[in-house]
Every structure is written in C-alpha cells, then in structure tokens.
C-alpha cells in the first residue's frame, strides 16, 4: 500500500496475528501424535503447529482457541487459519471455524532520510517518548486508532496496530511530523 504522498512509501507488512475458535474441545495428545508438523508443550498446555504454505505458526489450546502468527497479509492469515481448521477436522475433531479476528499487524517502513529523535520528541510531547538509555527508538502512540510507531534515527519506522488500515493511517499521520525533523546539517 502506498501513502498519499508524492513519493511512494513502501509499507511492508511483516507479521499478522489472528485468532479464531473451533467451538469444540481439542485433545492435544491426539494432535501431537497424528500431526507431523507439531510441537507439544505440555508444561504450558498448548500445541504449536506450523504450516508450510502460507508460512504460519499456530498455538492451539485445548479449549479450542487458536492464535495464528507469521502471515504477511490479512487474507493470508485467514487462508492459513482455514487450512488449520481443515487439518484439525481431518484429525477427527468437530471443528467449526468461527470468530476469526485479526488482532495485531506489524509493518515496517523506511524513510529516505535520517530523523533527529530529540527534535521529534520535543515537538510531539507527550505523545512521543524517547529514552536513549533504554531503547534506541522514539515511541509515538496514537491513542485514537490504537497504533504504536517506533521511530529510529536511521529513518526506519515500525508500526503496530489492530489492522492493516490502521497501520496505513498511522504512517500517513506520522509522515509529516517525521519530515519536519529531517534536520539539515549545517548551522
């Protein structure tokens, strides 16, 4: 997706986290026995199942709640989730694919300029916070759309939000603020 500025900004979605429910109890031991691509973690009470295509890792709990991570788009996440549900169906469980929801989207974006973080934080207090001793990036939280942006001095930013549209909106909102702080060098 491109931003609404003249130069196209590549927003690369690196991770989509989604959850869904199977509406039935799942026997984790059976899944661990009959599934090829599973890792059983009895101490935590869940099974990790990995799919090849799309590349997704799912955490499966015996209550029937499943969290899928690793997809690169919302549709891919849904595709992977449905494959997973089908797989569990074949294993013999009475699965009904329901309550699918994308919970978190992580994207990265690279600005073609460096950003002076102290200027950026000073201009955007208290929405922005920067503690160089703890983390090299400044954090900018947009409460209205529930998005968090981490701004690095190299111009790269990472955006997390509840869905892809929020992420795009967040980048559009923050771009002018970043552009202001691409400080030229000489005094």
């Amino acid at each position: 997706m491109d931003s609404s500025n003249d130069d196209a900004l590549d927003i690369i979605i690196t991770n989509v986290v989604a959850t869904f429910r199977t509406r039935c109890h799942l026997n984790l031991r059976t899944i661990a026995l009959e599934g090829i691509n599973v890792i059983y973690k009895p101490e935590v009470g869940k099974v990790l199942m990995k799919l090849r295509k799309p590349k997704i890792t799912a955490s499966i709990w015996s209550s029937g709640k499943i969290i899928c991570t690793g997809a690169t788009s919302e549709d891919d996440a849904k595709r992977g989730a449905r494959r997973l549900a089908r797989c569990l169906q074949k294993l013999g469980f009475k699965v009904r694919f329901s309550a699918f929801k994308v919970v978190n989207v992580l994207a990265v974006c690279s600005m073609p300029f460096a950003i002076h973080l102290i200027d950026f934080t000073k201009k955007n207090r208290p929405i922005a916070s920067y503690e160089p001793e703890l983390h090299p990036a400044a954090t900018y939280r947009i409460k209205s759309i529930k998005a968090t942006i981490q701004v690095f001095s190299t111009g790269s930013i990472t955006v997390t939000g509840p869905n892809v549209q929020t992420v795009a909106t967040a980048v559009e909102q923050v771009y002018p603020l970043l552009f202001e702080c691409k400080r030229p060098l000489c005094k």
Binding site: I36, D75, D76
Partner: protein, 372 residues
C-alpha cells in the same frame, strides 16, 4: 519494649508495649490485648529509604550528585504519591528502592539537573533495564512529562575528573562537550546510549589536549582503570566513529599539508573543534561537488546506489553500513482467504494410522531407554 505515659482505653492499664504484626508497628495493651494505636505502613519505609538513597549518594565517588534541597523535596513528594498508588504498594522492597531512585531522577530532570539512568542504576546496584521499567511505569502513573535529557547537558553536569589525569578539568570538559556536540551534529549520538559516547568524548578530549606519545599510546582500557569505571564496549566503536568524522573535517583544514588519517587526527582535534562549523560547511560543499561529478559519470554508466546513506557525507552509521535485507519472496497476489482447500494438501500434514502407531511405539521405547 514498653511505652510509658500511655494508658489503654479498654482497661485503663499502663502496661503498653510495642508489637509488630506483619511488619506493621502497633501499640498493644498486655493486660487486655486491645490495640491502642497502629503505625501507618508508609511512614517508616519512606523515611529510611530516602535517607538510604541520600547516604549512598553522598558516599558516591564516581559521580557528584549534589542534590539541591528543591530536588529532594520534589522527589519526596513524588515518592509519597507513587508509594500510595496501587501499582507500587505491593511491590518488593528492591523495587521500592528503585522507585525512590526514579523519583530522584525525574525531579532532577524537571529541575534542570540532568543525570542519567546509568548513574541511578550504578548507585542502587541494579540492572538499568529494571530502572527503566519502573521509571516508565511511575511516569505513566503520576502523569509526569519530564524533559528529554541531552547528552551535552549531562556532560556539563557531571564532569568530574580525578587528578591522575593531570589535566585542567574545565578545559577537558569544555573540549569533551564540543566533541559531543560535533558527534550530535553528525548522527553519532541519536539513538545511542549516552554513557559510551561520554566516555569516548572524554578519552579523545584528554588525548588531544596534550597529544604526546605517552597519551596517544594510552589505551581506553587503562584510561577506564585509572578513572575507576567499567569499560564499555560500545565506547570503542564511538571512538572510531568520532575519529572518522574528525578525519573528514580535518581534510578541509587549509593549512594542513599532510594527509589526515585516523592515527594523526588527534593532533588536529583542537583546530577542528574551534572551527567546526566552518569546516562542516566546507566539507558539505566539497562533498556536493564530488557527488555532482560522480552522478554525471554514473548516470552515463547507468547505475545509482540504492543506499541513500552512501550518498550523503554524514549519515547514521547503520544506514551507511546497511545490513543486506533478505530478498522478499514474491507473495501470492490473488489470495482471498476463502479458497478451496484440497484434501491432499491437508493429508500431507497428518500421519497415517500406521505411521501414528509407529511414532507412538518409538516414543515409548525412547522414554523407556531414557529411564533406564
């Protein structure tokens, strides 16, 4: 121990003793057992922790934290507020000490006396990340907006150089501050931890104030030993980065005939810092001219480096030495999420009954061999 002068409201007896129930001080009548009065949990710990911090502060050799009475009062107020808050009332004693340190930190920042988290973590002898977590939570809980700490301010506030260095501390701190300002202008400071930068600046400033053979050969390790501080590995990288910047500027000095390299740049540091803005402008202009000429030839050859960091004179070091990104696999464009899923595909994820039996058997054998 008994408390004279008090009488129990229940039975009138004067036999009242101090008793502590779950670390809460209480005055109890021995005869009838009624509680005459209870101490408030908050009183003593606050008092003794704050004095503890103050004694640690006054006993510190590494850093002079001359805490003004205003800062003390403000930090006391914040501590009292935070202590009563639900997020902090049930935490461990260590965390409460860290909380006291964070209150001192935030008061210092608000009253323009910047100190680093590293200082607080050093004084309290805890991991700086723990200090960070408590600090962020406290700031959120008390709704404080503290100003950002600039490395140059911290340097000015905490210049304390022992006599072994045989150097005028004012000249040293002035030069170190100038170095840090130059580093800030050339993208070395932004996003990095401040303490290694300060360490590198002081080391280079010390070397350059009297650049004789002895000082130039004196390694950072020995320097830190002399100053009784722990050497930090990033400080070495900062020294190299600062020297590279100084070299770039050193090349622009008109009266220097010799080529400026990383080895002999220390001799020029004084001149570079005194004229740094003029040199920066010259360096930028020279670079622009060189770039224009290069672009012309490159354009004709048909190639242009995609890394914008290589094209500008000063850029954040991780842009200049960018890590090679893994080539993205071309994603499927027509995914809708609702496609048909073939049986064969799902079957590849499931063991056949025979495979499952064999798997169960193997697991059993393995676990038995482990037990024996």
């Amino acid at each position: 121990m008994s408390r004279p002068g008090l009488s129990c409201p229940g039975c009138g007896s004067s036999n009242i003793v101090d008793d502590a129930l779950y670390s809460q001080a209480q005055l109890v009548c021995v005869d009838c057992g009624s509680v005459v009065s209870e101490g408030v949990l908050a009183d003593d710990p606050v008092g003794c922790l704050m004095t503890d911090i103050k004694t640690k502060v006054s006993a510190s050799h590494v850093c002079i934290l001359r805490v003004h009475s205003e800062i003390e009062d403000l930090s006391n107020t914040y501590y009292n507020q935070a202590y009563q808050h639900e997020s902090f009332i049930k935490v461990s004693l260590q965390k409460k000490e860290v909380l006291a340190g964070c209150c001192v930190l935030v008061s210092c920042r608000l009253l323009n006396w910047p100190i680093t988290m590293g200082t607080i973590s050093c004084l309290l002898d805890v991991d700086p990340m723990v200090v960070g977590v408590v600090y962020q939570e406290m700031v959120k809980v008390l709704h404080i907006t503290a100003p950002i700490v600039n490395v140059t301010d911290v340097m000015e506030a905490s210049s304390d150089v022992p006599e072994e260095f045989a150097e005028d501390s004012r000249a040293l701190s002035k030069r170190a501050v100038a170095l840090v300002e130059l580093a800030a202008d050339t993208w070395i400071v932004t996003g990095r931890k401040p303490i290694p930068i300060m360490m590198a600046a002081i080391y280079l400033a010390w070397q350059s104030l009297k650049p004789n053979k002895q000082r130039l050969k004196f390694s950072l390790d020995k320097f830190c030993q002399l100053a009784k501080v722990n050497k930090l590995r990033p400080a070495m990288k900062r020294i190299t980065e600062m020297k590279e910047v100084l070299c770039k500027l050193g090349k622009e000095i008109p009266w220097v005939r010799v080529e400026v390299t990383l080895e002999n740049v220390i001799l020029q540091v004084g001149d570079i810092l005194n004229n740094r803005y003029a040199l920066l402008r010259r360096a930028m202009r020279t670079h622009e001219d060189a770039l224009l000429a290069e672009c012309q030839t490159r354009y004709e050859a048909g190639e242009l480096s995609p890394n914008w960091g290589k094209r500008v004179l000063f850029a954040p070091p991780c842009v200049v030495h960018a890590k090679k990104r893994r080539v993205e696999q071309p994603g499927l464009k027509d995914v809708t999420g609702d496609e048909e899923i073939s049986d064969s595909e799902i079957d590849s994820y499931i063991r056949s009954p025979r495979e499952a039996r064999e798997f169960a058997l193997t697991q059993k054998i393995l676990s038995e061999s482990e037990k024996s």
